[in-house]
Symmetry: C2
Subunit: 139 residues, 2 copies
Amino acid sequence: MGQIDPALLASELRVVFGQLVRRLRAENSLSLTHGAVLARIDRGGPSSASELAALIRVRPQSMAQTLNELERDGLIKRRPHPTDRRSSLVELTADAQARLQADRHHRESWLARAIEELSPAQQRRLNDAMGVLQELADS
Amino acid sequence: MGQIDPALLASELRVVFGQLVRRLRAENSLSLTHGAVLARIDRGGPSSASELAALIRVRPQSMAQTLNELERDGLIKRRPHPTDRRSSLVELTADAQARLQADRHHRESWLARAIEELSPAQQRRLNDAMGVLQELADS
DNA sequence: TATTGTTATACTCTATAACTATA
DNA sequence: TATAGTTATAGAGTATAACAATA
């Protein structure tokens, strides 16, 4: 018992993720992609565009555009790679760091409020699954 | 201890969902939206376009296009609403039912494989969180 | 030659605006 | 008037194609 069917779980997760992401996208904060790029740099330090593309799982061409947008918005800056003149290192601006910090404590978003309204047991189950979701995302 | 910060959880979930959804979208199966519509009808029975729009959380105009695509692909059919001549009831074709059934046992997708490779304990944590994710999506 | 990065362009998903038909 | 549904159009996000500069 307690038998879990990975294929069934996958098909259910697909539906749930779709719903959640549609709602997250409707919130007008940082887009999920922009947020993921900033979070990666925040966690892993300055990176090249192609490293970021691989980590975030978008094409280098898409990353180029994303980085243009983030730069235009003053959230990243680029400095020359010390040894490879083809490449740049992308790093966060002070504004971006402040913004990430603020987002972590922003209780007004739809998702934060919805989580607040879960029971303590449910919050714990969600929290326990975070690491698993991370691992799936990075797998 | 065990104290959980909903705002922090929300900000982490946002990043993870973005990654997962980007990868799910890259798999060339049913789109997340098309899949969600079919799953809703499968679970809740024939529905009107506006009901589906509200459940799936898209605008009625977007649902109209989604339904056109699903109809073109032979996955839904519409029949007249018995009492309201403005409306139609959307139902699954036999093809769609077969497809949903097959998807539930399809072990070849990236996500199903990734879940298979998790430890039993991780699979359990993910499974335990499914209901919570559902509740968030429906909240 | 291979790699890093870019611009140009197209496709998918979903939104807003404007409309028709029925209630 | 309000509701169910539609078509037309625009925007965001991401892909492929084609290319330049450097390794």
